[in-house]
Symmetry: C2
Subunit: 492 residues, 2 copies
């Protein structure tokens, strides 16, 4: 069928009463029946709908396309960094500035990573962007190389918005508001699982003699998770699809459980004691934050996994490639040029960067310090941390820096703030309640890469994510309560 291009406003024109009475109940019910849920902190046997927007948020199709184009080059770039001696050198000096976390990760890397006989490396990445208001182009916020989340929920929220549209809930007359093709459903729930399955297959090829044997064995993916994960269902959606689409079983273990539940088999194969199943892929949904290693045992468990024969997503080299410091260094032409030969690709990658300064004693570092103290309102200060809640924003920067010793400043980077345009006509629903505050949306592009030295076995775009946060909040933690999962209305 051919659809005539229909012009319509950026947002449905239904009023707030319609949203409250018609859309919110339908939306909440859909969420609660389709896994768009968070575990309830009070009772694990109930679920609450995850926070979402009511409408998809408009994103220029060109911006999404360009971010998507960048993903494979970024995947490859970070794979090369993970393989490089340069990473070790830089991380070694960063480890001194941040002994508490980068230092510990690096020590574990030195002690154990190389002891594993597994040469396959695997990255599940997410490159996050804001859309610069003036140029309508995507600017990178950060590149995550460990425990990227929301790939399950993202696809589901796309389906949710499509459902509401086709059911006529976005229109008082009950018609569809958006045309087919305008609403984007992220492929992440399928593509991330595809990459996990591919990694497991490569693990098997490497370790088994015949294809027939590979078919029959029951190697599994181990999800390494937090003890009380509220974002549980995002993970379960991937587990379900892994089974449904590829017949692959998964196991879950916290860092506390790893060493009691698993043992080493031949060549340090990771064997589940109770069932004898072999975990061929270790998929981390924890381990990215210093708080994840509250006990020495947790470091030990990470080391145990690191030294095992399993393919790690990620191993420590890949995880360490994702520090904010590396991100800052890559904005320097001479650094990125070490890894990216093709001039066009390099330019495209660099076009997505905003200015990032070190706070060391180099020329750029001196400039960074000056800007941090004198023009802080244009910047965000970031430590070598992941998971939200660690950054220092704008006018808080000078006092923060003055509160720590200057030789510790080196552990931070100073990043230009991206000027994204707030959206004013969407709503966030959380626990059935509406917020009408303006929101800022951050586009995430998932990527998967499996490599063995220079040999790249798979390098894929793996779907997208749109997260939206209240303008009034610096950060958009979905589980923490400031952000929500959104989806894209792709505007031409």
């Amino acid at each position: 069928m051919d659809f005539e291009k229909k012009e319509h406003p950026e947002f449905p024109t239904v009023n707030k009463a319609h949203v409250e009475q018609v859309i919110v109940p339908e939306l909440s019910q859909w969420c609660l029946t389709n896994g768009v849920a968070l575990a309830s902190s009070e009772n694990v046997y109930t679920a609450v709908a995850a926070p979402t927007t009511v409408f998809p948020t408009p994103v220029p199709r060109a911006a999404y396309q360009s971010a998507k184009q960048l993903q494979k080059p970024f995947n490859k770039l970070y794979a090369q960094i993970a393989n490089s001696k340069w990473l070790l050198k830089e991380t070694k000096s960063l480890a001194k500035a941040d002994p508490e976390f980068t230092g510990r990760l690096f020590k574990l890397y030195e002690d154990r990573t190389a002891k594993s006989k597994q040469t396959l490396k695997y990255g599940i990445f997410r490159s996050d962007y804001l859309i610069d208001h003036k140029t309508a182009s995507v600017k990178q916020v950060e590149f995550n190389t460990v425990s990227v989340s929301f790939g399950g929920l993202s696809s589901k929220v796309g389906e949710l918005h499509s459902y509401l549209n086709v059911m006529g809930k976005y229109d008082v007359a009950g018609k569809s508001f958006y045309e087919p093709g305008e609403l984007h459903v992220s492929e992440s729930i399928v593509f991330l699982v595809k990459a996990l399955a591919a990694a497991l297959t490569l693990y098997k090829v490497d370790t088994e003699d015949t294809a027939a044997k590979r078919e029959q064995d029951d190697k599994v993916v181990l999800f390494v998770v937090e003890p009380k994960e509220l974002n549980l269902y995002d993970q379960k959606l991937l587990e379900y699809n892994l089974l449904k689409l590829y017949g692959i079983n998964s196991l879950r273990a916290t860092l506390d459980e790893v060493k009691t539940e698993f043992t080493y088999g031949r060549d340090n194969r990771l064997v589940h004691k109770k069932t004898g199943k072999e975990a061929g892929v270790v998929y981390y949904r924890t381990g990215y934050d210093v708080r994840d290693y509250a006990k020495e045992d947790h470091w030990d468990a990470r080391g145990f996994l690191e030294e095992s024969f399993a393919v790690k997503a990620p191993d420590l080299s890949v995880q360490l490639a994702g520090t904010k410091k590396i991100q800052q260094l890559l904005t320097e032409d001479k650094v990125i040029s070490k890894f990216v030969d093709d001039a066009k690709t390099k330019k495209e990658l660099m076009d997505s960067f905003v200015k990032i300064y070190p706070l060391d004693n180099s020329e750029q570092g001196k400039l960074g310090k000056k800007l941090a103290l004198e023009k802080p309102e244009n910047y965000v200060l970031k430590p070598q941390r992941e998971g939200g809640g660690h950054n220092v924003y704008k006018k808080d920067i000078p006092a923060f820096l003055k509160g720590i010793k200057e030789d510790e400043w080196d552990a931070y980077i100073l990043m230009e703030l991206i000027d994204a345009k707030p959206t004013t006509k969407n709503f966030i629903v959380r626990d059935g309640k509406l917020s009408t505050e303006p929101i800022i949306s951050e586009l995430g592009i998932y990527g998967s890469i499996i490599f063995d030295g220079d040999n790249i076995h798979m390098n894929d775009y793996s779907g997208s994510l749109l997260r939206s946060k209240l303008v009034s909040s610096n950060e958009g933690g979905v589980v923490a309560g400031f952000g929500c999962i959104d989806s894209m209305y792709l505007m031409d």
Copy 2:
């Protein structure tokens, strides 16, 4: 691939600690992500997992097959009853004995049903059985002709049990316990929707000129529902599949909302005022119990729907065909012979009946009264009611009967209790808590029939349901708290 027939016990041999620690969390999470949920009475924006069994319950494959075989003849039998003058005669006299409910339904039937120009009738039925312990044959508990529920949840619980099996949760060594083909997944979530779509198509054929026009129009299915339905998600699952599999939109309205939200168009077409959409099929998930008509307005709303041009599932003739009284009368050879010519079919149907007595002044009625007073422990006394909680069991019968006037006894039937074997090795999970009491399982077979006088447009088996209840409870209300949704392990 060929599977060698593997002998295994009727139930997995995992211990209670394994069930609690390994199965229950996995089961609850699957339920909460896949719509096996009940609305929470406290907060509509949370869901609780619906009660289910931990394992599928063994059912002889032959018993299931024979119940399935009976469905089309039963559908046809009840369609013929709905068409018959005999039904009107019998219902008229029943109306006198039960003026409060049957009387009201019958009056509405007389006043309004024939005024509708719609000649298509549509039944969504469920015939319920217990398996007689001695003969291992299915015996009919009742035949429901209105608002049969759990078709959505039933399929999902089958998937749940299959998921737990394939994920190795039923086995300490993490292997599958059941063989492929042993676990039955009810087709109801698809087949009930298929019948709704077929009814809507027939409605359109009847009323529109061209096939092209039919493709484009946006006629919908109206779900008539209770105001605070805890079993909401069972219904939503059907709505979602109706859209997903057939592109058909649905609307929902309570009996309170029907007349404010809908109006009559040409030929009493049921038109949604706000959107102008036409409801071609009215699907009742309320209206089966006297409590559903708390106000006169509710009767009026039912009449308004009845007189409309929409195809009703069911209209009052079909609903009234499902009284317990009709069920009792059908156990008499001379009655069932009016409707079923084929001797073999008649025998098969009658083989599924247990003895049911009237409590009137006929010979059988006198015997019934005697048995009710003298041997009550073998019987259940049933009024003309649906939805659970109305029956009187065993030793409570004499006192109950003595408490009402003898000329009201006629509104009850006395039914022989079916002796089903309790299952002792399953568990019921409700709110994450286990019950280890023995259970009794009731097999339901869904059926759909669309007919126009003697012309049968569709007559289908529409899936199955296994509900299990605590032996200690007379009835197994799932939402009320005594029963749960189960699935079948089909034993050869």
